[in-house]
């Protein structure tokens, strides 16, 4: 605890780190508030600026963008009835209804308070649970680790779009991308198509820039944007009184707990968390029919949940090296770029970095609270007026610049453009892009541990002889097979009738 306080103090007193976090918060607020610009796209755009930084500085900037953009998704949800990020899709139900009643500032105050409290709860659970899980995971052998990776991929295939078969196809393609290049053990080239550029494999950062940055921008480009909606008039910032706020605190705690635990499940993401938090509050309410009519609780529940997801998503990333969502997949890429492989070993080899990550998230929460509290609706009105045509052009150019800057190599630009096209095709075909990135991140990890297991034990049955790997493999197979088989049986029954 003293070490953690010292790390937080060091971050708060270091002007460079503090400045980076502040810049990240401002960028996150701007990007998150813009409709259609997701937190992942914001991170893909900011990514190239971190290449020359030390790891703590890079994490400071990235986590600030991450947290602030998740909160700012509520701004366009409340003011324009368009969710800025997927995590804000339930905020608009009551948030925009409040705005229509002339209570936009009150809705934004509730959203900010809930986001900050949700972020703090997620942070506390991250700090409390991550070392325990990492200590447990340190005892994992290669069969358990291979099974954990398989479990993560199965959850991603299942949860990322609701269509397991398409998710599975995307995940397998991602894993195939992960095996491109020379094999580490035998030095044999695989899927290199005779080019020297692919001998070292496909770097995860250009791939992430392609599938999350370029593909999303292309998808926005394919849709004609609606004309700017008028921002409802409202009085200045209006903070709720303690008396109005106190009844919302149980909602904050419940929704934050839901957000953290859902966020920790790979690929479940903030969209699932907010839906669950909103549904729970509606069910617990004595007057569920008032939800959607401009109820502050309808803003508080999703906002607490989506910001708590940030801490939750960092738990599997830091303890097991498995991304909790698309943003943590990018963060893993940043750590790999700095020569660090996230996972339980990081807690032993880089304890200072772990404390810095905790501190970075905490500083980001505090700065988001301070900066967002001082911004009035007039500032957001200006942000929302940025023309989409210039924004999209800038995002695409930054993606290319970012891909090139990874290693100053043109092949990375081609990789980013290629996967931008692939990601766009996936989006158009209803195939989730998340499993593709997950597969590419986890492919080498899965192969290393699978081969090590088979080399040591010589028999694939070892996965069914050890309790942890047995449970993980059986649950993974169930997650992959049960929905597909059930749907096929239901279809057959329907046909017979």
């Amino acid at each position: 605890m003293i070490d953690l306080l010292a790390a937080m103090l060091a971050s708060l007193t270091d002007p460079v780190l503090l400045g980076l976090s502040f810049a990240g918060v401002v960028l996150g607020l701007v990007f998150g508030a813009l409709p259609g610009v997701s937190s992942t796209m914001a991170l893909a755009v900011v990514l190239p600026f971190t290449y020359g930084m030390e790891t703590p500085a890079a994490m400071m900037l990235m986590l600030a963008v991450f947290f602030a953009s998740v909160y700012a998704g509520s701004v366009s949800a409340i003011l324009l009835n368009i969710p800025g990020t997927p995590g804000a899709m339930f905020t608009l139900l009551d948030g925009h209804a409040m705005a229509r009643k002339g209570q936009a500032a009150q809705a934004m105050a509730y959203a900010l308070i809930a986001s900050i409290l949700g972020g703090v709860v997620g942070w506390v659970l991250l700090v409390a649970l991550a070392p325990v899980i990492a200590a447990y995971a340190l005892n994992f052998g290669s069969p358990e680790y291979a099974a954990v990776v398989f479990f993560g991929l199965a959850l991603v295939a299942y949860a990322s779009s609701g269509d397991t078969l398409r998710g599975l196809a995307a995940g397998v393609i991602g894993l195939l991308v992960g095996v491109v290049g020379r094999d580490k053990v035998t030095d044999v080239p695989r899927f290199t198509f005779g080019t020297a550029d692919l001998q070292g494999g496909i770097d995860i950062i250009p791939l992430a820039i392609g599938v999350f940055g370029i593909a999303e921008a292309l998808n926005m480009l394919s849709r004609r944007q609606d004309a700017a909606t008028a921002v409802p008039a409202s009085s200045g910032p209006t903070w709720p009184s303690w008396r109005a706020l106190m009844p919302e605190l149980p909602t904050v705690l419940r929704s934050s707990a839901i957000g953290t635990f859902v966020g920790a499940i790979p690929a479940a993401g903030s969209a699932v968390a907010v839906a669950l938090a909103y549904a729970v509050e509606k069910r617990l309410s004595k007057r569920p029919e008032t939800f959607g009519t401009g109820l502050p609780r309808g803003v508080v529940a999703p906002e607490a949940a989506n910001n708590a997801c940030v801490g939750g998503a960092l738990i599997p990333m830091m303890t097991l090296g498995i991304p909790g969502d698309s943003i943590t997949a990018v963060l893993i890429g940043v750590l790999l770029l700095h020569g660090l492989r996230p996972g339980p070993g990081l807690f032993e080899s880089q304890p200072d970095l772990i404390l810095t990550i905790y501190a970075a998230l905490f500083v980001a929460i505090v700065l988001t609270a301070l900066v967002a509290a001082t911004l009035g609706i007039s500032v957001y009105r200006r942000i929302l007026a940025i023309p989409h045509r210039l924004l999209l052009s800038a995002v695409l150019v930054l993606c290319v610049l970012g891909a090139f800057s990874v290693r100053n190599a043109t092949v990375d630009v081609w990789v980013a453009i290629f996967f931008g096209g692939v990601g766009f095709a996936f989006l158009r075909l209803g195939i989730p892009v998340l499993p593709l990135a997950f597969g590419a991140v986890l492919g080498p990890l899965l192969e290393d541990n699978l081969r090590r297991t088979l080399m040591i034990h010589g028999d694939p049955w070892v996965f069914f002889e050890r309790p942890i790997s047995l449970v993980l493999v059986v649950v993974s197979l169930a997650v992959l097979l049960v929905p597909t088989v059930t749907s096929a049986i239901l279809n057959l029954r329907r046909e017979r009738q």
Binding site: L175, P387, V397, T410, G420, F424, L450
Partner: protein, 166 residues
Amino acid sequence: MSPTPSDTEARREIRNDLVSGALCLALSAGLATVHFGQSGRLHEATGREPGPALLPEILLLLLAIAGAGLLFRGLRGNRDAGTEPMDMRAALTSAAPPLLALLLLASLLPLRSVIGAGLAFALVGAGLAVLAGRGEKVSILRTAALGGAIAAGFQAVFSHALSVPL
């Protein structure tokens, strides 16, 4: 009788299943040809289980199974939905601007070596801004100038402030 939105959605899902299934099968077959066509040590090493071909072969098989599953589901859905032809025109029309944007991005590297990085980024930035602003009631020239200026500005920042050798 005109199709309802749920009919349209269902037909879109069928089309998506058919296209993604066919693509997965084609990708699996193509990569399998590359993989098994590769001579020498890749397959020799497979003899020493677990060799470098183990995971790729498992993955190619899984991809083929997923592709066949998607194709099967699409074909069944298509049979159930009747013989009404699918309207691909709208899907192709809305995909044209993104494809054009990809081409513009792909032209950056060759353009860079011909006219220099600054001008290449300005041109591509201008093109992208015009493409994104299509249909809006704004001056094309102004949009192009602003888009080009922003792209050239970013190129300058990366080149001079971040020392990226563009």
